[in-house]
Symmetry: C2
Subunit: 314 residues, 2 copies
């Protein structure tokens, strides 16, 4: 769908022809909702996201229900969506036990969630940075032995609510460590939304120089200060082709103050479509999905595109 022929597709120089959107709304989004969403609604959400053309949809997390009660139904949810054709359904696994559960259900892609800072490792995982990497190592090794694709999330890559600015070399160290233990892909998270384009480019260049190529990197921006899409544009110019986003802008992070607002998938798709970059996503169906989910959650979507287009349809 385009809206009255808009956005007009006008390519810009030196951008990728195609971007893969890693959709995190069903996991990163819903895990931060106050109310628990019924399993069947989650499954329907994932199905509609797939029908809108998203091909990588992070489905849930096999974390202990005590920590994330919103996703305590992972065992029930995963089989409901596992049959979706042509769709990757990565799941988060915090440890060996989580990997057991994911493997038992036939998951083919998993993700581990690391931090670039000691403070957040402590707050989120209750471990030092090195301890948390040590926990991930056997998990990632076993996942690789089982033939799974493994993503490593690196949170707090730009700023940390306790430590302030995060030095680039510290992020590089964690990224290198995750690559060394076998992660196929890394997602660079701006968990508190403070990054700006020059900082993004500096980190990407530093990673390249230290042997982490752009084609294993995804970016994961939060819109806390409205910077997510500008940062994404800068990352695309650097050659990044994997972008995390959350349908309707759902989510945030309960352990980090001010960490409201993942980049909304719709705002991202509007820009990519305007740049003539292929995503495979049908913007109209995606907006309808997020409007539907916003009704289920009983509050308006924080995505500007969803608001503008839902308003238009009234």
């Amino acid at each position: 769908m385009t809206v009255e022929g808009l956005p007009m597709a006008v390519p810009a120089a030196n951008l990728p022809a195609r971007v893969r959107i890693h959709e995190v709304g069903a996991r990163d989004g819903l895990q931060n909702e106050k109310s628990t969403v019924p399993t069947e609604v989650k499954a329907e959400f994932v199905r509609r996201l797939a029908q809108a053309g998203l091909t990588t949809i992070e489905a849930t997390s096999f974390v202990h229900p005590k920590w994330v009660p919103q996703l305590a139904d992972a065992e029930q949810l995963f089989p409901l969506v596992a049959g979706l054709e042509g769709v990757h359904l990565p799941v988060l696994v915090p440890n060996d036990r989580g990997l057991d559960r994911a493997l038992a259900l036939g998951a083919r892609r998993v993700a581990v969630f690391a931090s670039a800072t000691e403070s957040f490792a402590k707050a989120n995982l209750n471990r030092t940075l090195d301890e948390s990497l040590a926990v991930f190592e056997p998990v990632v090794r076993r996942a690789k032995d089982e033939g799974l694709h493994v993503r490593g999330y690196v949170s707090m890559c730009f700023g940390d609510p306790w430590e302030g600015p995060v030095p680039v070399h510290q992020v590089v160290r964690v990224c290198r460590a995750l690559r060394d233990i076998g992660c196929d892909e890394l997602s660079l998270g701006d968990t508190i939304g403070v990054a700006t384009p020059g900082h993004v480019l500096e980190l990407l260049s530093a990673l390249n120089e230290e042997g982490v190529p752009t084609n294993v990197l995804g970016v994961h921006f939060h819109d806390t200060y409205g910077q997510a899409l500008a940062n994404t544009y800068a990352a695309l110019q650097h050659g990044v082709t994997t972008v995390d986003a959350s349908a309707g802008g759902l989510g945030g992070c309960p352990y980090a103050k001010s960490a409201t607002g993942n980049l909304a998938t719709e705002d991202l798709v509007w820009m990519l479509q305007g740049l003539g970059i292929d995503t495979g996503v049908d913007l109209g169906r995606l907006v309808a999905t997020s409007a539907w989910m916003a009704e289920r959650l009983g509050r308006p979507s924080p995505s500007r595109t969803v608001r503008a287009l839902s308003h238009k349809e009234q």
Copy 2:
């Protein structure tokens, strides 16, 4: 002010060292408020914006009160702020009568408001495009004879709610005409917020090719689809150094559906500060000003930065 040392200043290549923010909140913002703001509150708003370091603050509009009742107090407001040192206070003048009123009060900078499309010229000005340009010609000529600086707004540069995508050559024609009649500066408006970076770059390049240099161009983006800051970043890369923004994200356009949300000055300043680009603006004072104004208006600021930082202070 920086917030816990954030954003970290990390310059990127090929960007200007300094950007002039053309602050439109007091005019473009307040003219779209449902309730009329008391004159003294407006004056205090302008004073606080100046104290926050903004040096170009569009103060009001000398349009007929019948059309914009929110700014009917232009005669009372202007003298209250005219003495602010080191601050330019441009005012909008729709016609000869408006220019008379502005000149009588000693305004030194004026702006005319043109459209890139016939539909919007008709809807907003009730004239054809050529008729509206003919009306502006003697106004601009007289303003120049009086030694004033004249800005020409060009609205609907990227999309129009009635016509859809707006051809670049049509925008170029209007810009050329406004330059030919004497406008010192042009502001390229994405009134309905549909632009994406490639479209922005295409328009800027086309203008350059047709003899309109970048140093007379400002950009004026709306955040309807969340694209404003990414578009601004693209424009900066092209060499644009004048960016319109509205403190707290106030405003929109009552004559254009879905035209909610000017780019918030705070979100812009966050990015520019992060890029190490000098604006002269104190982000903390600016956020405090917008938070204060949001209280006067009785609703939260749509600026993400204002929301995040006001929340932090609680």
